[in-house]
Amino acid sequence: MIEVWLRGPLPDTPTLVQPVAHALMQAREEVHQYVKDIDGADLWTRPAGAASVGFHLQHLTGVLDRLFTYARNESLSKSQFKTFEAEGKADDTITLDDLLTAFDKTVDGALETLQNVDVNALTNKREVGRAKLPTTLLGLYTHAAEHTMRHVGQLLVTAKVLHDSADVVDEETTSSSFTIDHFDDNDLAVLESSAESLIVPRAFLPSGAKEGGVLRLEKKQSETETNLHFKLDVSATEAVLESASALRANLKRAPSGDIEL
């Protein structure tokens, strides 16, 4: 589907803040799309130590709420501080639906605020946090859009890793291994499992990981959270390398020298 910002103007929203509204609407669509297959048990799982889906959803909602509070020239309430402190703490009483509902409600509120914004006030000064750091109303709205999309991007990666690894980890089958196909731009690693690709941040991989290395995905469960870690499987790497080398060595050879087809 075409992205929100290309679907045309929002008639009820002032033109100057429409890019902010477009970004928030896009974020809401993408969040629902990315997490739709997340198992409730994986809500607080942290692949390779990265933030959990639950944290991202709480943080998206919390930051948006706080930035729009500063935009109203208000300070944070005790309730907001409490919410802030609880972000990312695994809580089995919280469901994915709870988190999505809270995010949707906050985005709806932000969009309504943007519809009623006084565009002449966009350059008015605002202060952020207890330190009262200086910004403007437009600065807060722009950061709200940028911060939201940044975390949606991180949420996408975490959700994809969880989705792609769920079956193989649970079943403990031989396909629970991944091979590093190659490293690419943006510090990303392209992994392969059963000829399917998975792209993850290079930081997810153990130090010393090289192209061609075979990785095993390990699941560690504690009382409070589940962690997924890639571990180098040196012996599997050597075995596959030996097998592939033998296969290539046994191919029929063409005579050396120039060739006429």
Partner: protein, 281 residues
Amino acid sequence: MKRLILLCTLLLTLLLAGCLPNLEPGPSLGEVKIHFIDVGQGDAVLIQSPSGQNVLYDGGRNNTDALSYLQNLGVLKLDLVIASHPDADHIGGLDAVIDFYAPALYMDNGVVATTQTYQNLLEAVQNAGSQLVEPTGQTITLGDAALQIIPPPTDESLNRNNRSIGLTLSFGAFDVALTGDAEEEEFEYWQTEQSELLKEVEIYKASHHGSSNGDTLESVTTFSPEVVVIGVSATNPFGHPTDEALNLYEGVGATIYRTDLDGDVVVSGLFNGQYRIETEP
């Protein structure tokens, strides 16, 4: 005898007039065709010589894109398949192509990969009975056209991109260069150890999909292309093509084509160096 001479004269006349039916769609008489196939994020380049030889350089990631393209084009025979280097976005589609066409020859860079994709490729080569060709800087003649292989460095400490097989295609005054995913180290190696194989070209395939670590100022200056074609998908997460790469190509005055925007890019080159470009989004 008189009837035979008459028949030969008629055939010759039809041939010169270009009226004979083409059994296999390919280049018109006196044209070399280079198809930069839209395989999403990856590379697949089909070379068709005027005398009917077909060479595939890389096959994209997906195992149907390149094969479907060749089949839809009506390609009946594939003579040589070249895997520039064993990254999945270059070799993922080659096993299906080799299974179908059973080319006589297969060339790779000798870097053994550990992926299932690579295993599938080698098994396809084995089953097809294709002969393995090592890239040693040889010339591969395709009638009046010729491929000059630019061999990769053998230094095993280099990453796979930097051990890509490069090549130039020459047809009279018309030249094309393909450099896989070569990065700075490989371009430096070519400049110092294989400089006699490098030349200015009309058409150039962007190295590493327009990555920030692919082409260098030296590489684009050396090949000095008039046209650069980038094999890239619109949704790739790597940021390809990067502004740095686009600036390099624009810096030498090249016109840029991108498979994410232009779809399949087909270049028809003439012996006198002239060429035309068609896109099929």
